[in-house]
Symmetry: C2
Subunit: 343 residues, 2 copies
């Protein structure tokens, strides 16, 4: 309660500050895309314009660039070195969103139709490619801090790609273990978060032990982040998440709370397994029934508790590396904010 | 005739030599992909294994890495500096093939089912992403020659992406001009060819004027290459091209010979335009009829003559920059070989 009250005051201001730092650089980068259509789709994906290119109020919390900036500030007390990496991480994140929405056939993202729905599969894929390539161009063109960040971000991108491939593989599959899901989520979400929380420090030339501690912080936070996302994918309020309700149930996803339910060895878990084995998860009635069973079997509670445990582990990593205030407290506040969002 | 006889002897040996140089490095790079499935799909795409991972006889001519190696040899007499760029260019090329086949719904590539058909859309897209990211990792990890090549290859990748987007946009569209098609082909094919023919010289630190001449050589060659590809997309022998016959007609592509026919102001061209406007290009009888009209209207002849003219321009660029023998003659031989292939 106290925690929630505290970060609900600090974090929005903080995100506004880092956004003011990063967004002009991000807009400048996307502005260098020579192809009109790629630039339009990238701008739409960033939430800066509608499908015709008319300016809109930007959505999205821009958590990853904020973390990149804060990690530079925590490591050497200045944000400057984290800026190119913040831009690149946000571009890589949006590349993966554009592509994942095509693969997952998701219809809505940040309260708007997804890129493929508006611009077609081909151009959504291509604009994702353009954003990934642009991320590398930004780093390649920006002094030593950019070049130091490049291998770090390329590595995280490979992990992200593998995680999405595992996610597709798990979809609709029977007999999936919770460990398989957590391994997949480590790639799909934690890898880029761990990159975001450490790349600023790395770019600034911070000691290796500091970079690694920030990386572990981001990794644990990333798992917590995904677990909360998974919970929202089952019981999230569409008006707040910007996605349709119970979308993961409907899609037959094997997210952590769903697999926790399936492997819970409870009557509700067994009933859920029977429904899924019979392919019953798409009709509205079945979706409501399945959602109830995921709750009843303890799948949701497990995911919430695990997210809390991961957050605690994450915060523990921040101690003992001489990280500078206020950035280190701000990193902690953003972490708590992420885990408490929309609950 | 003499030309054809000459390069038909030289070029296969030459490509075998550059393949022996590049393939071990390419295999080593793909071997670093930690994800089993991404590594399998990349290896399949390269023609090294079947869908289960059993080794197969490699297909594909590996023209682009050969050009990258030759451009280093022509500029400074040694291939070493071209090697990371050769690997990266071939990875970028195969990334684009994997993705283009998804978007174009092509069924066959190099006499085998396309990646998406074997592994699904999602994993084909992801493996393409992994190959693009790997290309950048190879360059980032390889000394000064890699880092010099990086911006050049990133820039070519953006042009490639734009070209494919234009190609999708032109598909099935009425009133397309020949200039629009040539502009699209400059991005889709010529950009990466121009990168391949110059990046070795660039990586080796050759003078800017030399790099630019080799780039213009590659650009003209790339247009010629695509025009020949377009001709084969209308009248190619499936047994030799590894694609289905008249595939571009069936797909409603706006390739250069097709648009040359449509804009030819001939009776055959007008009849073709009427067929296309009525959506008649998919039935077997209509495909045969349309193919005949493309020939009759002079569309194919135009493309063949334009390819020859571009080849002549390309070869002219090789003179007067003190490029070293035998590499400069070998570049010329590869260029002629590309334009004469399968005819």
């Amino acid at each position: 309660m106290t925690r929630q009250l505290e970060h609900s005051q600090i974090v929005p201001q903080l995100l506004a500050r880092t956004r003011d730092l990063v967004e002009p650089a991000l807009r400048a980068a996307i502005g260098t895309l020579a192809d009109d259509r790629m630039r339009l789709i990238a701008s739409y994906q960033m939430g800066w314009c509608d499908a015709e290119g008319n300016p809109t109020e930007p959505g999205g919390k821009a958590i990853r660039p904020a973390l990149a900036i804060l990690s530079a500030e925590a490591a050497i007390g200045t944000s400057r070195f984290g800026l190119p990496a913040a831009v690149a991480v946000e571009l890589v994140h949006n590349f993966s969103l554009l592509h994942d929405d095509v693969m997952d056939r998701d219809l809505e993202r940040r309260h708007r139709p997804t890129g493929w729905l508006v611009f077609g599969d081909g151009d959504a894929i291509l604009a994702g490619n353009a954003m990934l390539t642009l991320a590398m161009q930004v780093l390649d063109e920006t002094g030593i801090e950019g070049r130091r960040s490049l291998p770090h971000i390329l590595n995280a991108t490979q992990l992200l790609i593998s995680g999405q491939s595992r996610d597709l593989w798990l979809e609709g599959r029977d007999g999936v273990s919770l460990q398989e899901v957590l391994d997949m989520e480590a790639g799909k979400t934690a890898a880029l978060l761990a990159c975001a929380t450490s790349v600023g420090a790395l770019a600034a030339g911070a000691p290796d032990t500091t970079v690694r501690a920030l990386e572990r912080f981001g990794h644990e936070l990333g798992i917590a982040f995904q677990l909360v996302d998974d919970v929202l994918g089952v019981v999230g309020d569409p008006a707040r998440t910007g996605k349709s309700s119970s979308s993961d149930v409907r899609a037959g996803k094997r997210s952590a709370p769903i697999v926790a339910a399936l492997t819970s060895d409870t009557p509700a878990g067994r009933q859920l397994a029977e429904m899924f084995a019979a392919g019953r998860h798409e009709d509205e009635d079945d979706v409501i029934l399945a959602t109830g069973l995921i709750k009843e079997s303890g799948g949701l509670d497990w995911a919430i508790q695990e997210a809390e445990a991961r957050l605690t582990r994450a915060l523990d990593e921040l101690a003992g590396h001489g990280l500078a205030e206020p950035a280190v407290s701000e990193l902690a506040a953003v972490a708590a904010y992420i885990v408490d969002r929309d609950r």
